[in-house]
């Protein structure tokens, strides 16, 4: 999928996957059938916004505001594309 077309999609966590804070591991994890991925902070921050309701362009704006940064588009789009490829997200 191209960057412009991805920006207008509304990514959400795939069915059967669950994003969850793990106190013992002190990190967010993504849980799925018989598996678990430990997430770094930025990955978790992005996934938290992927609720299937807002489009990616909007999510990027919100993340840039929340972290008081600009030019996050490339990094976030790359991450989202990768997460789709891995099956974590659906659009």
């Amino acid at each position: 999928m191209t960057v412009p077309s991805l920006l207008s999609t509304q990514p959400r966590i795939s069915p059967g996957y669950r994003l969850q804070w793990e106190e013992v591991q002190q990190c967010y994890v993504l849980l799925y059938p018989e598996g678990m991925v430990q997430l770094n902070e930025s990955a978790a921050d992005i996934l938290k916004y992927c609720n299937g309701e807002q489009d990616l362009a909007h999510i990027i704006t919100e993340l840039e505001q929340a972290f008081n940064e600009s030019n996050l588009t490339d990094d976030i789009v790359n991450f989202i594309a990768d997460a789709i490829e891995r099956g974590w997200l659906r659009v």
């Binding site: 059967g16 669950r18 018989e34």
Partner: protein, 371 residues
């Protein structure tokens, strides 16, 4: 040991009872009796303590977990505690209503096992009528919106049917397919001469799996792992002894690997007597094969010791007589010949017929444990 990490995986083997009699079962030959099983309160305590320790993935397994009529209670509590709950089942013992009830109680995922893609082979290996039920339950699982894993345990009796298994999985809209290699523990070891495939069969199955993996990329995930007997290198059994995996047997015995019970000279603590925290961090058994200090040559000086941890302790014991030895599936093991001989017997069709296939059931368990 200060560098011990918390457990992440809890396998709750809630019963050893099972309506199926698969001869490749990796349960210990001495099945736990029904009257020795943990009760509901005890299982609830296991779930709580393991979650406190850090376990996030939970598998309800057995035997056939559906036999337990408190499974709904356990699922609901597991979900409340924050586990990702997996039900690992034959499908026999469910109906549409129970599948829906599990969903309401918070079950995250159901894995259904098939013995083969066709009725005749499936029901022969299962030792009962199961195939039609499995088909119906696979459809019910999808209809309820669960992610579905289909698991085919692969061995010589069904390995030529891998293509048809994958076709069946596609037809049933499986999200994942596990072409699980038989682990030659417990009943599977008793029946190894009937089950071990030839190298040619393994390569053929591998090629078929790869073709479908390419074709179905992004649609259906297919797992196929070449059996360690043919790899020359051992598998990192349970990702390392006492590293992430904690199994509780039906009678409350805590195990670093569900097959470990048959290892000698180890005292396996029971959750009826000890806390899980003590068992995981401090018990001699969970520390017996942690790290590398227990290793002997060739493991201790091997570059791959942090990759495969010397392989499977149970296999090392069963095939070499000492659980501290390298797993004999490793080509560096001085006992590797044991594995080569077993394969050779298969290749020369010298196998079987002298002894019949032993089905996994309680009468056979009694016979085997008393002989």
């Amino acid at each position: 040991m200060s560098d011990v990490r918390p457990p992440l995986w809890l396998l709750a083997e809630v019963t050893h009872s099972c309506p199926l009699q698969c001869p490749y079962c990796s349960n210990p030959v001495s099945l736990v009796r029904k009257q020795d099983e943990l009760n509901t309160e005890e299982w609830l305590r296991v779930l709580y303590e393991a979650r406190q320790l850090g376990a996030a993935q939970l598998g309800f397994s057995g035997g056939e977990p559906l036999i337990r009529n408190d499974l709904e209670i356990l699922i609901a509590e597991a979900r409340r505690l924050g586990y990702y709950t997996n039900l690992i089942t034959s499908g026999v013992g469910m109906d549409e209503e129970r599948v829906a009830a599990f969903r309401e109680h918070g079950l995250d995922h159901i894995q259904i096992s098939f013995q083969a893609d066709d009725l005749t082979t499936n029901d022969y290996l299962a030792g009962c009528k199961a195939y039609e039920k499995k088909l119906a339950m696979a459809k019910a699982v999808k209809a309820q919106g669960y992610p579905m894993v289909l698991c085919f345990v692969i061995h010589r009796q069904n390995i030529s049917q891998v293509k048809a298994m994958l076709e069946l999985a596609m037809e049933l809209n499986a999200d994942y397919v596990e072409l699980a290699t038989t682990q030659y523990e417990g009943w599977a070891l008793v029946n190894r001469d009937h089950l071990l495939p030839t190298l040619e069969q393994v390569r053929q199955a591998e090629a078929t799996a790869h073709t479908y993996q390419e074709r179905l990329r992004g649609k259906m995930k297919i797992y196929f792992v070449v059996p360690d007997y043919y790899e020359g290198r051992p598998k990192p059994c349970v990702d390392g002894w006492g590293k992430v995996f904690l199994a509780i047997a039906p009678d409350g015995v805590a195990l670093p690997c569900h097959a470990a019970r048959d290892l000698p000279n180890l005292e396996f603590a029971n959750i009826r007597e000890q806390s899980l925290e003590w068992i995981w961090y401090d018990s001699p058994t969970f520390n017996a094969f942690r790290g590398t200090s227990w290793m002997k040559e060739p493991c201790i000086s091997c570059d791959e010791r942090f990759k495969d941890y010397g392989g499977c302790r149970c296999q090392a014991f069963k095939l070499s007589g000492d659980a501290h030895n390298a797993d004999p599936t490793c080509s560096k093991s001085p006992h590797h010949e044991q594995v080569l001989k077993a394969i050779e017997r298969v290749d020369q069709a010298e196998t079987v017929s002298e002894k019949p296939l032993v089905f996994r059931n309680r009468p056979n368990a009694l016979k085997l444990t008393h002989s």
